[in-house]
Amino acid sequence: MNVQTVTSERKELVTVTGKRKRLFKFKGTVLGPVLAFIAFLSLWQLIPLLFGIAPFILPKPTDVIQAALENWTLLSPAIQITLGEAIIGFLLSAIIGIFVSVLLASSRILEISIYPYAIILQTIPVVAIAPIIVIWFGSGFNSIVIISFIFGLFPIISNTLMGLNSVDKNMQELFTLYNASKWQSMWKLRIPAALPYITAGLKVSSTLTILGAITGEYIAGIGGGKGGLGYAITVAAVQLKTPYLFACGIASAIFGIVFYLLVSYLSNMLLKSWHESAMKVEK
């Protein structure tokens, strides 16, 4: 009897600490960042007010929101254009990157002879070769997509290649023992095993392709069409429309985060159905 009372008391103790823990967790994961965000916004709002800083030097958050709303007819199509360029650039770098990696991984000789050039391609600042791209593909959409594609390509190639080459030796031997052909090992072993690496590459590349699209818009202009975010930013900068400039910057940041989350979500879906173990490892 005595023992039982002791254990029941203990149980209560445990639930109390459990509640506290949950509360603490809420404080730590939700409340903390929200408070920090509010504090940051208030400070940002206060500083220009207190020191009398002009909106074209440092606009207040309310100025930025106002500018965004006023220029919504410009901002909204700009986002759509950049989105289109980034998505096409991303898809191109994903498809071509994975295809090239599979090709390189299927032949040691190919990998040794071509991979160094892929690295060189990466180390050349894209900004430096962008004018050439503009000369070849004309100003506007095509060049921007290609610049975005180049930005996103390398992380996919390097990750995919690493994944394809880091298959467990025993598994590889198992396939050898069952007389699997090169393509059977590729499809049934190496690509599925590389999937967590590939999706990691896709995530990195998703943000880089947006960066690429905006950089591309800086360099390649609009070529007769409507401009994207990058173009809007250059125009706003020239006209000293600083609040709108801030709005564009924040819009591209939000847009980048959303795109990243979307790609993360899709790759988790892919891993869940295809590579259940990886889901667990990744958590």
């Binding site: 025993n170 198992l174 050898t176 023992l177 069952y178 667990k280």
Partner: protein, 261 residues
């Protein structure tokens, strides 16, 4: 023992030297006949795994020859499903279900779906896992994973089953159950089994013959015929006697090595 005298595996003065200069095997001679259950017993570094891998064509002899069904191991692998290998780890593909893992060898050889299904059901029944067809490897215990691994090896109906310390990572109770199950499979399927172990009890419990090996260089130092009826009783005095004999020959190989250095 109704052991027929057809050689399944023949080691003929095999020597294996690695690039590092390590002599893994030296003057290794052994003939294994159909229906035998042979254990390679020895300390680590005695080349027992090296010998087993050569039988599977996963390594070439530096000198001498290894033949399986009087052919080169690699040719046997290329042309048939006669050799199957069970690794120390279960080595299951984590993205495939138990069923899909088991049919992998058949899938790779292009067997039709219907016979894949029949085979999978048969072998999973044999290892007692027919209720786990749709489970993923991560949902299984270590012992169950090893059962799937054995089922996969059996799915191709091998004539020769090579096992590289398959039960070494399992707990004692699971190991004993799997040992008994393996003996039943061996009887039912009428395969020849080559089994690498460093566990004396396991070797005596399972084998018709034990090949005792010494380390650096790996040599065959004793052959013990275990003349006990199956299933064997671990508490039996005859069993203990064989354990003592095997332990003694192991100790001899170790002692000789110590005196030599």
């Amino acid at each position: 023992m109704e052991i027929q005298q057809n050689p399944v595996v023949a080691f003929n003065r095999v020597k294996k030297v690695y690039n590092t200069g390590t002599v893994a095997l030296s003057e290794f001679d052994l003939t294994i006949h159909e229906g035998e259950f042979i254990s390679f017993l020895g300390p680590s570094g005695c080349g027992k795994s090296t010998a087993l891998r050569m039988v599977a064509g996963l390594g070439e002899a530096t000198n001498g020859t290894v033949t399986v069904f009087e052919q080169k191991p690699k040719d046997v692998i290329r042309n048939s499903n006669d050799i199957a290998f069970v690794f120390q780890e279960a080595n299951l593909l984590p993205w495939r279900t138990v069923y899909d893992n088991v049919v992998l060898p058949l899938e790779l050889r292009g067997t039709d779906k219907k016979s894949q299904k029949e085979t999978a059901e048969r072998v999973l029944e044999m290892v007692g896992l027919k209720d786990h067809l749709k489970s993923y490897p991560r949902q299984l215990s270590g012992g169950m994973k090893m059962r799937v691994s054995i089922a996969r090896a059996l799915s191709a109906k091998p004539k020769l089953l090579l096992m590289d310390e398959p039960f070494a990572a399992l707990d004692e109770i699971t190991r004993q159950t799997l040992q008994l199950d393996l003996l039943n499979i061996w009887k039912k399927e009428n395969t020849t089994i080559l089994f690498v172990t460093h566990n004396v009890y396991e070797a005596v419990y399972l084998s018709t013959r034990i090949a005792v090996m010494s380390a650096r260089p790996g040599r065959l130092t004793a052959m013990i015929d275990v003349d006990l009826p199956y299933p064997r009783e671990r508490a039996n005095s005859k069993f203990t006697e064989y354990v003592n004999i095997a332990s003694q020959s192991l100790e001899d190989t170790m002692g000789r090595r110590e005196l030599g250095t």
